[in-house]
């Protein structure tokens, strides 16, 4: 790496104008810019060069940006990634963030914003090292008082998943096990509450450290009995969504405990090595 540059940034986009615009802006800001219109070529460049950060478009012919991110995780998961998405394309942006990108930019973007984001991204790797050291000494407790509204489920699930991700849990844990358990338990309780015009809230607490996550859920009307969580070996009636959901909770929990009155259920997830 040239000692006078702030880092090498790889730009991947099938539009030549974007490549030129970003290369020029980043060079002026003290970065060394590499560019390519091909995600496949980008993978070669990443393997052959000390890339500090990647900016990639999502929608490209051939291999798209999401596939590029996935492949990059195999080569070097520590390279910060910024994705460029179409205006209002938040679903794709969310997918990209879920796969490891740390920021997304909507087109049309402001050049100053791009440079600010790149500067921010350059600080991430050193922060990651410090974070890893702190994780072994960290525990997180979260308490939720959840109104009977389906709209809040995704937000609650996201908060807990994010915390698990920050504590170093595997992607399988934070993107699959945790959101499934929370989504299904909350949905069941809120559905039940809405059917009975219950005007209260649902209580959930999360206690996590780097080794295990305990999600404790309180049901107002005692709906969480052991019978409501079928074993995966039982025949599934797919039209009974709630029973299917509870089977999923049992599958994704390493341990599942119930109170006799059905008002308390505790799911434990262990971190995977």
């Amino acid at each position: 790496m040239n000692a006078t540059t702030k880092g090498k940034v790889l730009i991947v986009d099938d539009e030549e104008d974007i490549l030129r615009l970003l290369s020029r802006a980043l060079s002026k800001s003290g970065f060394e810019a590499l560019s390519t219109s091909s995600a496949l070529e980008a993978l070669v460049l990443i393997q052959d060069n000390p890339i500090s950060l990647v900016i990639t478009d999502i929608r490209m012919p051939g291999m798209d940006g999401l596939d590029l991110i996935k492949q990059m995780q195999e080569i070097n998961p520590d390279i910060p990634i910024v994705v460029i998405t179409g205006y209002g394309d938040f679903s794709t942006a969310s997918s990209a963030l879920g796969r490891g990108a740390f920021y997304f930019l909507n087109k049309p973007f402001n050049i100053k914003t791009v440079v600010d984001v790149v500067n921010k991204g350059m600080r991430l790797p050193s922060r990651a090292v410090a974070t890893k050291k702190a994780i072994a000494h960290t525990s997180i407790t979260m308490n939720f008082d959840i109104p009977m509204e389906m709209d809040v489920v995704a937000g609650v699930s996201y908060q807990v998943s994010r915390a698990a991700c920050n504590l170093g849990y595997s992607k399988h844990c934070y993107s699959l096990c945790v959101p499934f358990i929370i989504d299904e338990l909350l949905t069941k309780e809120i559905s039940h509450g809405l059917e009975r015009n219950f005007d209260g809230s649902a209580g959930m607490s999360v206690d996590m450290n780097s080794e295990r996550i305990i999600i404790e859920f309180q049901s107002n009307e005692g709906i969480f009995t052991s019978e409501s969580f079928p074993s995966p070996l039982e025949e599934i009636n797919f039209e009974d969504e709630q029973l299917l959901g509870m089977m999923m909770v049992r599958h994704f929990s390493n341990e599942l405990n119930f109170s006799e009155d059905g008002k308390l259920v505790k799911a434990t997830i262990y971190n995977e090595p």
């Binding site: 999401l66 394309d89 679903s91 794709t92 969310s94 997918s95 879920g98 796969r99 389906m150 709209d151 489920v153 995704a154 992607k171 399988h172 993107s175 699959l176 959101p179 499934f180 989504d183 299904e184 949905t187 995966p232 599934i236 797919f238 039209e239 969504e241 709630q242 299917l244 959901g245 089977m247 999923m248 599958h251």
Partner: protein
């Protein structure tokens, strides 16, 4: 969730993007199936490459969609599940109800 439509001969491919877990997602999904069926397209392939999450209600909607298309003498199939969703579809034995393929091309050739 977003959906995009493509055609491969007599097969309609619906690219699903995002997650299938909210009422809005279920509506978008249902409308995409309705649109295909209303145009007489009953060979439908759902590409899950860009789907990162589906809950039990989403799975229920999948089953309903498969049933509806089957009643019109059509076929609903799925391709390109992520490893996470593959695990989900396998242990719920959903893969015994709907044909699932690793690669889109294999799914297309199976119709």
């Amino acid at each position: 969730m977003e959906v995009n439509f493509r055609e491969a001969g007599k097969i309609t491919i619906i690219d699903l993007v995002g997650s299938i877990k909210t009422n809005e997602d279920y509506d978008v999904f249902k409308k995409s199936i309705d649109e295909a069926v209303s145009k007489g397209k009953t060979n439908v392939l759902l590409n899950f490459k860009n789907v990162n999450f589906i809950n039990s209600s989403g799975i229920g909607r999948l089953i309903l969609a498969a049933k509806r298309i089957s009643e019109d003498n059509g076929n609903l199939k799925i391709a390109e599940l992520s490893d996470d969703l593959k695990e989900l579809f396998t242990f719920t034995r959903l893969d015994t109800k709907i044909s699932i393929f690793e690669k889109e091309q294999d799914a297309i050739e199976s119709f």
